[in-house]
């Protein structure tokens, strides 16, 4: 026969163990739930990143189409009644004026000149990022 106080102690220990196990399982379930939620969030973010990339690409195409001479020239000539300049007037500013303007505005870059790369000012940085997988 086990004495009454000892039986009580064992009972308390078993109850405590059960409580610890319950809390432990509850904790595990909570961790598992958090993991699942975060995984879902991660999946959703990946999809959003991909959608944003696709959207960027579609906008890029739309911008390229709007910038193309195939679109601009008929719009300018037929809808807006513009005519190309036939005799541009070239001005030859003195070196002092050129230096003054350059000092005030930084490098003087003309968008109209050929070979400036003006059409892709930030493409290098964008490509470096967009090339990465989500």
């Amino acid at each position: 026969m086990v004495p009454r106080p000892r039986r009580r102690t064992i009972g308390l220990l078993v109850a405590a163990l059960c409580a610890v196990l319950f809390v432990g399982f509850l904790g595990l379930a909570a961790v598992q739930m958090t993991l699942a939620q975060n995984q879902q969030r991660l999946d959703r973010l990946e999809r959003e990143v991909q959608d944003a990339r696709d959207y960027y690409d579609r906008l890029r195409l739309a911008v390229a189409r709007l910038q193309s001479p195939d679109y601009i020239v008929p719009t300018a000539t037929e809808r807006l009644g513009m005519v190309p300049a036939t005799s541009p007037l070239y001005l030859t500013p003195s070196a002092d004026v050129v230096n003054h303007v350059a000092a005030a505005t930084g490098e003087v870059v003309s968008d109209a000149a050929s070979g400036t790369g003006a059409g892709r000012p930030e493409w290098g940085a964008v490509k470096e990022i967009s090339g990465r997988a989500p």
Binding site: A36, L61, Q67, P69, Y90, A113, R120, W123
Partner: protein
């Protein structure tokens, strides 16, 4: 007691059966855990592990200013699993209005959707590739069993037909099939990646499950030497000129003189079905050959100067008709027998005079210089299918060919070769290989400049300068007067060549001949920035068919646009020829 005596064997029997059952179970577990473990593990992984191929973006093609000429954009490909399709004909009919299919294509689609059909109806069949978002959404809305989709990039040229003959095309799988898309396919094509992860039955990723990512490597971008806006204007001007000249087609090449960079290369052809002149899908300037005619006289004259057998003022008595070998040749313009300097021979484009000069060089000398100017070998442009042209060794020149090559008949070139030859004079006597690609942009976004075109000295700078003066005279007082541009000094040479017939010879049964009318020149002549070649294919045989009449005016229009685009200021106001000394 009797009952308990019978119970014991029963219990033993039950225990035995249970033990045997347990042993079988244990054995099966042992087999599952050992011999068949790998197969079951694999089957489990197959159910959970999903491998997704991450497509690599094909590199874009930019013009020299960074404007997109070709880009790949994600589209949606609709596909079917015929195993899941109960009613192939009904499914095809439901898709028809959304995909715009006619009856014949609906029947073909229904056949593809039928499991075990002879076409490709297995587990996968294409329904429609690379459709836009609107169509994809309509297909999804139909909720047809067995019909699914996945993203797939499609190649777009935002400027539609612009420079199509140069850029080329890709197939639906994104592989280059023509033009620069083909020539630089390896550069433009990236390395696809892979995403491996475990997914549950609901398609969601299993948290902390197996996950492996191999990132795709995007293809490099190409930066071309072309100027998109100049290319557009050049194509428009060429189409208009070919149309108004009632010619069959034409080509224009615009090069930067010092670098050999091709700023514009336009090709146009009359569509035999519609009769309309359209930009050609073939880059005729690089792949088509023709006899250059009098433009090639620049080689003969330059060779004579370089070899020291003549100078620009060396004079010969030149008749309008003269026998060479067994044939009597005539100049295009009748004239009395008169003294002509080398400069005047070129200015007036005298065939007799050019052949006279050529005799001083000898056949081998003539051939050596034609090759030095780039005739008879690919220009180095790197364009797929680029032609070498035709230049037989001097020892194989037959009969009158010995003389006719001096003025550009009996030798065939591409427009690019002819432009590069003229550019040699513009560039102070140094031949520079034309190029179309300026740089590539790697996955890190950094520009990697393409190697500059190969250079070789063909003429001394002094001889090139002498030729420069002679060619200015062609424009000021010779056959090229129509190539004058107010404010700019132009140097160039006209050419009107007979066009060889497929059957041989130049004239048909009724004696009619076809022509190639050309003008090649550079501007501003004092400090050349641009070399431009214009060739018009088959201008009408009667009337205006000379290079001076149909090619030189187009040269002026293209040059004006190019000079404005490159912001090249005029060298003087008004006509630059009024101050040049007249030559006899």
């Amino acid at each position: 007691m009797r009952r308990s005596g019978r119970t014991r064997p029963r219990l033993v029997a039950v225990l035995g059966v249970a033990l045997i059952g347990f042993a079988i179970l244990l054995g099966r577990v042992a087999i599952l855990q050992t011999a068949e473990a790998a197969a079951f593990r694999l089957a489990g992984e197959r159910q959970r592990v999903r491998t997704t191929t991450l497509p690599a973006a094909r590199g874009a093609i930019f013009d020299r200013n960074g404007y997109e000429l070709a880009i790949s954009i994600p589209q949606t490909t609709i596909w079917a699993d015929p195993r899941l399709i109960i009613d192939p004909a009904g499914t095809a009919n439901a898709l028809a209005p959304v995909l715009g299919l006619d009856a014949e294509r609906v029947a073909r689609l229904a056949q593809r959707l039928t499991l075990g059909s002879d076409t490709d109806g297995r587990e996968f069949a294409y329904v429609a590739r690379q459709v836009d978002d609107g169509v994809a959404e309509q297909v999804h809305a139909l909720r047809l069993p067995g019909i699914s989709s996945y993203p797939e990039p499609r190649r777009f040229q935002p400027s539609e037909e612009l420079a199509r003959s140069i850029i080329g095309s890709t197939d639906p799988d994104g592989r280059g099939t023509a033009g620069l898309e083909l020539a630089f396919d390896e550069v433009l094509t990236g390395e696809p990646g892979q995403l491996v992860r475990e997914k549950g039955q609901d398609g969601r990723t299993i948290p902390s499950g197996y996950h492996e990512l191999i990132a795709p490597t995007p293809g490099d971008d190409l930066v071309l030497t072309l100027d998109r806006n100049l290319q557009y204007v050049t194509e428009q001007l060429l189409v208009t000129q070919v149309e108004s000249a009632q010619a069959r087609g034409g080509m224009v090449v615009v090069m930067e003189a010092t670098t050999g960079d091709v700023l514009a290369m336009a090709n146009a052809r009359r569509n035999p079905d519609t009769g309309r002149v359209e930009p050609s899908s073939a880059n005729l300037a690089a792949v088509d050959t023709y006899e250059p005619g009098s433009v090639a006289k620049i080689v003969t004259a330059a060779a004579a100067l370089q070899e020291g057998v003549a100078n620009s003022q060396s004079t010969w008595m030149i008749p309008a008709r003269q026998r060479f070998s067994d044939h009597i040749f005539t100049d295009a313009e009748p004239h009395p027998t008169e003294p002509m300097t080398l400069a005047r021979i070129i200015a007036k484009s005298s065939n007799i005079g050019t052949m006279t000069v050529s005799k001083l060089l000898g056949a081998e000398g003539q051939e050596r210089y034609l090759r030095a100017f780039g005739f008879g070998s690919r220009s180095g442009l790197g364009f797929p299918g680029e032609a070498e042209g035709i230049l037989e060794p001097a020892g194989e020149w037959q009969g009158t060919e010995r003389y006719t090559v001096a003025y550009g008949q009996g030798v065939a070139v591409t427009a690019v070769q002819l432009a590069a030859a003229m550019n040699t004079i513009a560039n102070g006597g140094t031949y520079v290989t034309p190029r179309l690609v300026q740089a590539t942009i790697g996955r890190d976004g950094e520009d990697a400049p393409a190697p500059p075109g190969e250079r070789r000295e063909v003429l001394s700078p002094a001889v090139a300068q002498e030729m420069n003066q002679i060619l200015r005279e062609v424009v000021c007082r010779g056959t090229g007067k129509n190539a004058r541009i107010d404010g700019y000094t132009v140097a160039g040479k006209t050419g009107t060549a007979y066009k060889a017939r497929d059957q041989g010879g130049y004239a048909d049964a009724s004696g009619r001949k076809k022509y190639y009318a050309s003008f090649a020149g550079f501007v501003p002549a004092e400090q050349p920035r641009l070399t431009i070649l214009v060739s018009i294919d088959e201008p009408p045989g009667s009337g205006e068919h000379y290079g001076a009449q149909v090619a030189a005016p187009l040269f002026v229009d293209v040059a004006r646009e190019a000079l404005r685009r490159l912001q090249v200021p005029p060298t003087s106001s008004g006509d630059t020829c009024t101050v040049a000394p007249d030559q006899p």
